[in-house]
Assembly symmetry: C3
Amino acid sequence: MNGSEMMALVRDLYPLCRSLTGDGVRETLKRIQRLIPLEIREVPSGSPALDWTVPLEWNVREAWIRTTTGQTIVDLKDSTLHVVGYSTPIHATITRTNLDSHLHSLPEDPDWIPWRTSYYSESWGFCMPHRLRQTLTDAEYEVFIDSTLAPGHLSYGELLLPGTTEQELLVSVHVCHPSLANDNLSGIAVATAVAMLHRDQPRQLGIRFLFIPGTIGSLTWLELNRPNLILIVGGLTLTCLGDAANLTYKRTFDGRCAIDRAALHVLEAEGKSHELLDFYPYGYDERQYNSPGFRLPIGSLMRSRHGRFREYHTSADDLSLVSGDQLEEAAHVVSSILSLMDRDRCYVSLAPEGEPQLGRRGIYRAVGGGGDPEALQYAMLWLLQAGDGRHTLLDVAERSGIAFSVMAEAADILETHALIAWSDPDEGTALRPSRSSR
Amino acid sequence: MNGSEMMALVRDLYPLCRSLTGDGVRETLKRIQRLIPLEIREVPSGSPALDWTVPLEWNVREAWIRTTTGQTIVDLKDSTLHVVGYSTPIHATITRTNLDSHLHSLPEDPDWIPWRTSYYSESWGFCMPHRLRQTLTDAEYEVFIDSTLAPGHLSYGELLLPGTTEQELLVSVHVCHPSLANDNLSGIAVATAVAMLHRDQPRQLGIRFLFIPGTIGSLTWLELNRPNLILIVGGLTLTCLGDAANLTYKRTFDGRCAIDRAALHVLEAEGKSHELLDFYPYGYDERQYNSPGFRLPIGSLMRSRHGRFREYHTSADDLSLVSGDQLEEAAHVVSSILSLMDRDRCYVSLAPEGEPQLGRRGIYRAVGGGGDPEALQYAMLWLLQAGDGRHTLLDVAERSGIAFSVMAEAADILETHALIAWSDPDEGTALRPSRSSR
Amino acid sequence: MNGSEMMALVRDLYPLCRSLTGDGVRETLKRIQRLIPLEIREVPSGSPALDWTVPLEWNVREAWIRTTTGQTIVDLKDSTLHVVGYSTPIHATITRTNLDSHLHSLPEDPDWIPWRTSYYSESWGFCMPHRLRQTLTDAEYEVFIDSTLAPGHLSYGELLLPGTTEQELLVSVHVCHPSLANDNLSGIAVATAVAMLHRDQPRQLGIRFLFIPGTIGSLTWLELNRPNLILIVGGLTLTCLGDAANLTYKRTFDGRCAIDRAALHVLEAEGKSHELLDFYPYGYDERQYNSPGFRLPIGSLMRSRHGRFREYHTSADDLSLVSGDQLEEAAHVVSSILSLMDRDRCYVSLAPEGEPQLGRRGIYRAVGGGGDPEALQYAMLWLLQAGDGRHTLLDVAERSGIAFSVMAEAADILETHALIAWSDPDEGTALRPSRSSR
């Protein structure tokens, strides 16, 4: 799935009226299902979700404001942002003052429609450009929201690409924002592309993809999957990956997990400018995954940071804000991080006393006396020296300054010659037969 | 007790002839007793004080040098610094050469009288301006010191402001220097002011104030209070707090104790320039408290560092060197450090799986979609994320960059809503009922 | 042994044709034996050496290339570098093309002879200046190598200067390079000088000197001495110490061993520019000592780094590259590092509660009130404060900024007055009688 194909998916999903629940999310998941074998889960309203409860399902069919003479001011048909998310139904003619208390606009960006929600307190409202709001001078207006807020389901999508072990990586994206391209659809497109890319590759660690409504979706999934959380060894939430900014990685709560180091190594190896953020308790579902009761090692990859770019949560976060090249690069980086996590492991030398004689095995240059060895031979020497079963490939790559890929190639050669074996770091130098599953 | 009142105390105590023991110290303690309910302890000469012994009590009534024609050269009446501390009695006419071997002066500061002592080897001596010493050309002089060095007592003052727990903070000042304003009286004034300020405040940790002669006083107190030392969780020695220099904090031997972090946080929060010194085995009674057999976490707060300002231990350390404003600021900082220590503790989240739903409890803004939350809400999110029972409020304040006071306010709100509870860090995530005593 | 004497040794050993084995090494060891009581070990070919095997012994008596008209092109008599180390015997007239495949030269340094070996794959070859090689235009040449590659022995030299404990320091130099002055002979000369210097000094830790062929020598020694390796508490490989560059210390694999800190402290105390290198798995026998099965804390001291100076492994690494002054300085630094390692230890205060009264013991100035104490008294105060049995002299020297030598002097004084005692850091504050053996 290249950048153009990812943009095509973004364009396809852009018009749908998504929210925490409802047919917009359901339709979004079905369209993703055409590309990857997503399972769509439906969790009934009222189900427990840790400290929360799955809310009523919300669907909106029509919503507008008209003058008493029938002139349309705003209409849901024109933008899914016009109606406040989870608005209760209404049909009434009300005073301008009353209406105004239900309106949201942005005086500083008077041409943009803001996006607002009222998930957890019942009310209704409209969002519009501030310039338009200022033209409302009539005494009364007719408002109509044909919505239902009723027992139904919370929908989310899940796909597990199984590995040869039970351990898993987690990729989580939110699917609850309406027509917002960068904050929502870019993450969806990148996760879909990564799933397609990895579907047919062999892997040690399973990769689990979640397409979920923000907060309540991850809380619900965590509630339902508590026993299996221990199998998650790392992961990422993905968001805002299509804009023009550099890639930014936000660390886990712990900050020194394998995923933190893998992300940093890949970003540095890419050689492009990037930013690192320490964990903070705001953002997306990494908040839930990292909470003290779980402490799942989930970082977050983004470009512009939520809430810190001007178009954030406005109609200006539209298709023009994201580009296929940026999405493609992001998918490539995510894929590399997952691959590194999958490949990284500890090795123990099987000839730990002194250096083994590589020359006898035909994996060392024959004539001595020259200068430093080349990178691959150097990587072999490093792995043998570090081979006490407590250093991962990434440890040795970081320490030696040799690229992870070269280190992995060296490990393959040494493993083939039975000079190193995969080791469980918790067991120290105790040897373990090299698993055949790789 | 404001700066003027503190200066009044300094002025009142300035003329008294203090030493390790004797009536000067006793009178000093009595005058402090008018302000705070100090208990005055008297420990007999010869009592063991760890590796030391409480010395004989020294009192001096009169001391002078005269020419053989009766002209007075120096007289104790003019300055308590003129006689070497713990001088043995003498009345004799002696040669200039002999006299000179008993004189102390400062060639580089020829108008100042140095302060010298001879506590632990019996001798006598006089201190005088170098310029005056140079005028001594007679063949003989009459010297007179009417002192007694006899079994008596070592006197010190002690005040405990009890807390709701048995644990204590320690504030220790030395009271053994004669007419020296910055090195001695400034610490006495600040400790007295802090005691008055905290006397009527509720507190978790007791605050114990010691007004003691340097070294032998703390050794004696440590000898007598060995069983209770384990209850001391932090503290400060106070000295040289009235001069014009910035505040300087000297770390404990360990360097990373709670008191070290509290002092740093308060000094940084004050926003004024300040200095930090690593522990060194010189200075004041923090040497004794930090010694390897005790390792009490006692730091030291000062302005100019002892021995490093020109007026140190000379007659130029007089009333003009200290100011009420500087004393008042120092008292404020000491008070803030003690309060922070008292308020800091670990919390554990009572809803640790995912984030609890703050909105349902009315402590989160209702309409979603806006930007970053404000500091107080952010502090709540931080405390909930950090709520594994191993992070103190100060840990979270330092990590988040949010002020300790805001963090404490957030903790109060969350505790009220039963979302967090006080936790013992040694017990990890094990819960503990929130103590009612706060 | 001063610099001139060290240079005399270098000059004496320079012409010998050393290799991994053979009479060149044997003669080298015998000449060193004239200066220090080296024991010469002979290990039979075929003996196991960890993953390796002791090779056949190689000796070469004559080697040359001649034109078919009898004109000599190169001759072993002119330079020991001309013949590839471990060349098999040959006597044949061969085509220029065939000959050329057995030649080594340096196009970038066309006047220098490279040094090449073929220890572990049987072949033969010659090394010559590139300029000379380019003059070879005849169709055929006569080549002659009168060598033997036959069962014999690997020879190495060993000297233990015993200490009063069983623990040892290790100094290891390679002796397998032919006429190369800096890379080989400089290390031999420095090790010999250090052995002579320490021979008659009292010491706690034994010092073991190894004069061994590179790689296979250390592997053989490790194989034979496995049970005693645990006694080695630190050490150095020495190489390339005679050139004009600054001293460079290469850390152990661990990087924070006592030897690493000792080397750094001595280099810094010397006040000269120096470089520090993190461990890398290339270089000399420190590779074998640090391998994961042993992890002996062996660093490496050098000036120019092997493979990184132009003359490395060429005929330009001759007597003119090394100087007596540089050798002498290096020997002094090595000696200081070994002495520091020998002297460093943990002390526990025997009067840990408060400070002991130094004045009563006559080791503190009598008159109080002056400024900071001088370094020796300050060092005493530091040792007493640090005296919890977990700080070594070097720890306290580093922390206080006081020179190690002053710290050691202070320790002597305090130990004389029974104020501190030697302590085993693993036993924490538990006291241990001061060993009489110092």
